[in-house]
C-alpha cells in the first residue's frame, strides 16, 4: 500500500503542476511532458547498471564508511568519488520505505517491483536539477533573432534539444544511470559562467568532479578559462591579456573553493588512510584500452583495422589486446591540445574549448565508454542555436553519437522505442535548426547528407537483415564493428570541423571589457 501512496503523491504533484501549465508556460509543459514519458519508460529493460546502483545503496546503507571502498561481495564495486557515495547514502534512507530487502549487501541481483519503482523514480526525481539547469541555460541564449513564432525561438529549440535529448532518455531512463542531475550540475556551472558568476560556476564544477570523475576530461577548459577571464580582471583594447591585471585574491579564492570541496569529499578517507584504495577504484588502468563494446573513437578504428588485417592473415596476432602501455599519456596529450589563448575570449569560446576537450578525450582517451559522447553533445546544444556552422557540427555529432548508443539497447521490445525516439529527435533537431538558420547557407553539403542518410540502411542491415544471415554464427561482432566504425567516421569529422572552427573563427567582442 505504501507504494501506491508514494506513486499517488508524486503524480498529484505533477497533476498540480500540470494544472498550472494551463496558464500557458511552454517550458513547464515541455518539462512535464518529458517527465511523463520517463514514467512510461519505467517497465522497460534495464542493464546491469541497475544492480550496480542497488549494490551501492546497500553498501552505503549497511556498512560503515571505512568499508565503502573495500567492500567487494558483488563484482560492481564502488568506483565513483565520495560525493556520489553520499548521494546513494541519502537515497538509501528513502529506499528503506520501499523495500528493505534491496539494502542487503548479499541480495545480489535483487530486483523486486518496488525496487524497480524506487530506482526509476529516483532518476526521474533527480532530473529536476537538470530541468532547472536547462531553464538557466535558456536565459543565456541570445534572443536577438526576432521571432514571434514560439516554435522558432532559439530558447524553445534549445529547451527541446536538451530536455528531450535522445541520448539522455535512453541512457538514464532505460539503460539506467544517473546522468541527468550530473549534467544538470555541469550545465548549471556553464550557465553561471555565462552569467559572470564565476565563483559559483567554479564551485559547482568542483562539486561535480567529486560526483563523477569522468568530468576531469573537461577540467582543463574550466581551469584555463577561469584563469584567463576571472583572475586577469581586465583586457587590453584589442582583447589580449593585460598581464598586470592579475588578481591574486581571485586566484586564491578559486583555489580555496576547490580545496574546500575536495577536503569535504576526500577528507574522511584521508583520515582513514584509504586514499590509495579510493584512487585505485576510481582509475582502474588495468582494464584495457577499449571497453567491452567499442566506443566509436580512434582506438575503435585502430582495432578494427587490426582485426581485419589479422583475419585476412597479414598480421601474426591481433594487437588490439596488447596496446603499448604508454597509451594513457598518449590519450591525454592528444586530448588537450588547446592552450591557444585566443580561444578563451568570452564564455562562448570557453564552451567551444570545453566541447573540444570532451570530444578529444572521447576520441583518444583510455577505456572510454560510448556514453561519454553525451559529455560533448549536451554542451554543444548550447552552441547550436547560436551559429549555423555550430548547428551543422552539432547535428552531425548528435546524430552519429546517438546512433552509436543503439547497441546499448539490444532487446526486442525496446527496438521500436529506440527507433521512434531517435527519429523524433533527429527529425526535430535537423528541421528546427534548418528553419532557424534558413536565411544562411544550407547546413549540410551533399557528402554530409549522404553520410547521415546512410545510417538508415546501416540500422536495417544490423538489426533486421544480419540476424537472419549465416554470418551471425561465424562473425557475431560484425554489427558492432560496423556501427562503431561508421560512427567513428562521423564523430572524427565533427571533431575536426570543430577544431578548425575554433582556430579560424574571428575572436568575439574585441573591444568589450570583461
Amino acid at each position: 500500500m505504501r507504494i501506491k501512496w508514494v506513486e499517488c503523491a508524486a503524480l498529484s504533484v505533477m497533476a498540480a503542476l500540470s494544472v498550472m501549465t494551463g496558464g500557458g508556460s511552454w517550458f513547464l509543459a515541455l518539462a512535464l511532458g518529458v517527465t511523463l514519458l520517463k514514467c512510461l519508460l519505467i517497465p522497460t529493460y534495464h542493464s546491469t547498471d541497475f544492480e550496480v546502483h542497488r549494490n551501492w545503496l546497500a553498501i552505503t546503507h549497511s556498512l560503515p564508511i571505512s568499508q565503502w571502498y573495500y567492500e567487494a561481495t558483488s563484482e560492481w564495486t564502488l568506483d565513483y568519488p565520495p560525493f556520489f557515495a553520499w548521494f546513494e547514502y541519502a537515497l538509501s534512507h528513502v529506499a528503506k520505505y520501499f523495500d528493505q530487502e534491496m539494502l542487503n549487501v548479499h541480495n545480489l541481483n535483487y530486483s523486486s517491483s518496488r525496487t524497480l519503482l524506487f530506482q526509476r523514480f529516483s532518476v526521474i526525481f533527480t532530473d529536476a536539477l537538470f530541468v532547472y539547469a536547462v531553464h538557466e541555460c535558456c536565459k543565456c541564449v541570445d534572443g536577438k533573432k526576432a521571432c514571434k513564432e514560439l516554435t522558432e525561438k532559439p530558447k524553445f529549440i534549445l529547451s527541446v534539444l536538451l530536455l528531450w535529448n535522445f541520448g539522455l532518455l535512453i541512457v538514464d531512463h532505460i539503460h539506467f544511470q544517473y546522468n541527468g542531475f550530473l549534467f544538470g550540475l555541469m550545465l548549471l556551472s556553464i550557465a553561471r559562467l555565462f552569467q559572470k558568476r564565476h565563483m559559483e560556476g567554479a564551485f559547482l564544477f568542483a562539486v561535480l568532479l567529486h560526483f563523477k570523475h569522468i568530468y576531469l576530461y573537461v577540467a582543463p577548459a574550466y581551469g584555463i578559462y577561469l584563469l584567463r577571464s576571472y583572475c586577469f580582471t581586465a583586457n587590453k583594447p584589442d582583447g589580449s591579456i593585460r598581464w598586470n591585471s592579475f588578481s591574486f585574491v581571485r586566484l586564491i579564492s578559486l583555489g580555496l573553493t576547490v580545496f574546500l570541496v575536495s577536503a569535504l569529499s576526500l577528507g574522511p578517507f584521508l583520515a582513514l588512510n584509504q586514499l590509495p584504495q579510493v584512487f585505485s577504484r576510481l582509475f582502474p588502468f588495468k582494464r584495457g584500452l577499449c571497453h567491452a563494446y567499442w566506443a566509436p573513437n580512434f582506438w575503435a578504428v585502430y582495432n578494427a583495422l587490426d582485426k581485419v588485417l589479422s583475419v585476412i592473415g597479414l598480421n601474426d596476432k591481433w594487437f588490439g589486446s596488447a596496446v603499448p602501455t604508454h597509451s594513457p599519456s598518449l590519450g591525454d596529450s592528444l586530448g588537450h591540445p588547446h592552450l591557444h589563448p585566443d580561444c578563451h575570449i568570452g564564455p562562448r569560446g570557453f564552451l567551444r574549448c570545453l566541447i573540444l576537450c570532451a570530444l578529444s578525450s572521447f576520441m583518444f582517451g583510455w577505456h572510454v565508454h560510448e556514453k561519454a559522447i553525451l559529455l560533448a553533445i549536451l554542451p554543444m546544444s548550447l552552441l547550436s542555436v547560436g551559429k549555423a556552422g555550430d548547428a551543422s557540427i552539432f547535428l552531425i555529432l548528435s546524430t552519429t553519437g546517438h546512433y552509436s548508443l543503439f547497441p546499448l539497447l539490444f532487446t526486442a521490445p525496446e527496438l521500436p522505442i529506440k527507433i521512434l525516439l531517435m527519429l523524433l529527435f533527429t527529425i526535430y533537431s535537423i528541421s528546427s535548426l534548418k528553419t532557424l538558420f534558413r536565411k544562411e547557407k544550407p547546413l549540410f553539403n551533399w557528402m554530409e547528407t549522404f553520410y547521415l542518410l546512410g545510417l538508415g540502411p546501416l540500422e536495417v542491415f544490423c538489426e533486421f537483415v544480419f540476424p537472419f544471415t549465416s554470418w551471425k554464427l561465424k562473425y557475431p561482432f560484425i554489427p558492432l564493428l560496423l556501427t562503431s566504425v561508421y560512427c567513428a567516421v562521423g564523430i572524427t569529422y565533427a571533431w575536426f570541423k570543430l577544431y578548425v572552427s575554433v582556430f579560424t573563427d574571428p575572436p568575439v567582442g574585441k573591444t568589450k571589457k570583461q
Binding site: 501512496w5 494551463g22 514519458l37 512510461l40 526535430y428
Partner: protein, 478 residues
C-alpha cells in the same frame, strides 16, 4: 504543409506513447482457463486460419463458441486471417488448432502488439493527420496541437494497447474517421464506402450510422430530388449495397449462414446492461432495479424508444441543413444518445462517443477536454483490473497538459466559446442575474477533476466496505 516536421514529431510521439503503454500487461495475462481479450484475439486467428469459412460462426467440435466465439462482422475475421498468415510464417505454434490455447510468450506478445501498432499506423493515424490538416480557419500551429491532443487521447491508447481490446478499435474508428473526412470534403462515395467498411468491421459503428444517413440524405435534398440529388442517392445506395455484399459474400450462399452471423453479432438475450457502465440504465439501477422490474422484451422497447427520442431533433436538423460542422456535432449527440440509452452497452463503447468529440476539439476545447477526461475516468475500473494505474494516470495527465497548453482552455470559457450563448440569453430573460455561467462551469470543472482524482486515490488505496463491494466500480459511472 509548412512545419511538417512538427506534425511528424507529433505522430512519432503518439506511436512512442502507444508502444510504451503496450509494454505493460494485458487483460487476462496468465489467468486460465478463459484468459482474456488477448487470448480471444489469438483464438480468432487460430479459427480463421485452420477452419473453412462456413464454420467460422458455427458451433462445432473444432470451434467451441463458448470459448471466445467470433462475434464481430466478417471484416474482423478477414483481418484475423491476415494476421494468422503472418503468424504462420513466424511461428506456427501460435495458431495451431487446439494446442495453442492459452499460448503466452514474450515473442507472441510482441507480435500481437506489433499488429495493433501497424493497423493503427496504417489506418487511424493518417486519418487523424488528414483531418487536422483539413481544418479550416486555424493556424498551422493549432492544427498540429489539435493532432497532438487527439493522438494522445488516453481512452483509445489504454484500451487498444493496455487492455488489448479484442477488436483493434483504432481500425474501426479510423475507418469511420475516413468516412467522416470523405463525406465532409464532398467525396461522398469514398466516404460512405469507408464507413460501410467500418460497420462491417465492428457492428457498434452503427451508433454513427444515423448521422451519416441524415447528412447524405440532406445533401441529396439540397441538390434537388429530381436530377443531381437523385443520381447521388442512387450512387450512394449502390456503394453501400456493393460494399456489404463484398464483405458478406461467403455468407450469402446459405440463409442459415447469414442468420447465424447476425445472431452472433446482436445477442439480444444478454440483458439491458452488463458490468458497470456509465449509462443511464446502470446509474438508475443503483436506486431502482430496472432489470428486475421490467420484463425482457419491454426493456428492449423502452431503450429503443428513449434512444430514438433523444436522437431525433439533431438528425432532423442535420437533414434539413447539412453542413460538415453540423455533421460532427450530430455525430457526438447521436453516439451519446446511443451510449446512454441503448441496449447491452459496454464501457468501451464510450470510445465511439469520444471519437466525434475529438473531432470537435478545436471548436469547443474546454467542454471537449472535460468530456474526454471524464470518459477516460469512466473506464478506470476496467483498467485497474489490468494493473494499468500508472499508464492511465500518466497518459491522462499528458493529454490534459497537451490540451491545456494548446488551447489555453481556462481562458476560453466565455459564453460564446462554450456555445451556450443562446441558452444563457434565454435563461437571462427569466433570471436577469444569470451572468455567471462561465464561472459556474469553471468551478464545476475543477470540482469534477478533484473528484476524479480523489476517487482514483481511494480506489487504489482503500478497500471498499463490506456491504458495497462494487462501490468503487459504480461511483465513476455517473
Amino acid at each position: 504543409m509548412e512545419k511538417w516536421y512538427l506534425m511528424t514529431a507529433v505522430v512519432l510521439l503518439g506511436l512512442t506513447v502507444r508502444w510504451t503503454v503496450s509494454l505493460n500487461s494485458y487483460s487476462g495475462a496468465g489467468k486460465p482457463p478463459m484468459f482474456g481479450d488477448y487470448e480471444a484475439q489469438r483464438h480468432w486467428q487460430e479459427i480463421t486460419f485452420n477452419l473453412p469459412i462456413k464454420q467460422w460462426y458455427f458451433n462445432s467440435s473444432d470451434n467451441n463458441l463458448q470459448y471466445w466465439g467470433l462475434d464481430y462482422p466478417p471484416l474482423t475475421a478477414y483481418h484475423s486471417l491476415l494476421c494468422a498468415y503472418v503468424a504462420q510464417f513466424i511461428n506456427p505454434d501460435w495458431i495451431a488448432l487446439h494446442s495453442s490455447r492459452g499460448y503466452e510468450s514474450q515473442a507472441h506478445k510482441l507480435f500481437m502488439r506489433a499488429t495493433v501498432l501497424i493497423a493503427d499506423l496504417l489506418i487511424y493515424i493518417p486519418a487523424v493527420v488528414l483531418h487536422c490538416c483539413c481544418l479550416k480557419e486555424i493556424s498551422t500551429k493549432k492544427k498540429i496541437a489539435n493532432a497532438l491532443c487527439i493522438l494522445l487521447y488516453p481512452g483509445l491508447i489504454l484500451i487498444d494497447y493496455g487492455h488489448f481490446q479484442i477488436m483493434y478499435n483504432s481500425v474501426s474508428l479510423g475507418l469511420a474517421l475516413w468516412g467522416v473526412l470523405g463525406v465532409s470534403c464532398d467525396w461522398d462515395l469514398l466516404g460512405s464506402l469507408a464507413f460501410c467498411l467500418a460497420v462491417n468491421y465492428k457492428q457498434m459503428e452503427l451508433y454513427h450510422s444515423l448521422p451519416f444517413f441524415c447528412f447524405l440524405l440532406g445533401k441529396c435534398f439540397k441538390k434537388g430530388l429530381k436530377g443531381k440529388g437523385f443520381v447521388l442517392f442512387v450512387k450512394l445506395a449502390g456503394t453501400v449495397v456493393a460494399s456489404f455484399t463484398l464483405c458478406w459474400l461467403p455468407f450469402f450462399t446459405e440463409r442459415a449462414q447469414a442468420l447465424q452471423v447476425l445472431r452472433r453479432l446482436f445477442p439480444v438475450d444478454r440483458g439491458l446492461f452488463e458490468d458497470k457502465v456509465a449509462n443511464i440504465w446502470c446509474s438508475v439501477s443503483v436506486f431502482l432495479k430496472i432489470k428486475d422490474i421490467l420484463p425482457h422484451h419491454v426493456q428492449i422497447i423502452v431503450s429503443f424508444c428513449l434512444t430514438l427520442l433523444s436522437l431525433l431533433p439533431a438528425c432532423v436538423k442535420l437533414t434539413l441543413q447539412p453542413s460538415p460542422k453540423g455533421f460532427r456535432f450530430t455525430l457526438v449527440s447521436c453516439a451519446l444518445s446511443f451510449f446512454l440509452f441503448s441496449f447491452q452497452v459496454h464501457e468501451k463503447s464510450i470510445l465511439l462517443v469520444s471519437l466525434p468529440v475529438c473531432l470537435v476539439l478545436s471548436e469547443i476545447p474546454f467542454m471537449s477536454t472535460w468530456f474526454l477526461l471524464v470518459s477516460t475516468f469512466s473506464m478506470l475500473p476496467l483498467l485497474l483490473k489490468d494493473d494499468l494505474l500508472m499508464p492511465s494516470v500518466v497518459t491522462t495527465m499528458a493529454f490534459f497538459i497537451a490540451c491545456a497548453t494548446s488551447f489555453s482552455i481556462f481562458e476560453k470559457t466565455s459564453e460564446e466559446e462554450l456555445r451556450l450563448k443562446s441558452f444563457s440569453v434565454s435563461v437571462r430573460k427569466h433570471l436577469p442575474r444569470f451572468t455567471f455561467l462561465p464561472r459556474i462551469i469553471q468551478h464545476l470543472f475543477i470540482i469534477s477533476v478533484i473528484t476524479m482524482v480523489l476517487l482514483t486515490l481511494m480506489t487504489v488505496t482503500l478497500d471498499p466496505p463490506q456491504k458495497l463491494p462494487d462501490l468503487f466500480s459504480v461511483l465513476p459511472s455517473p
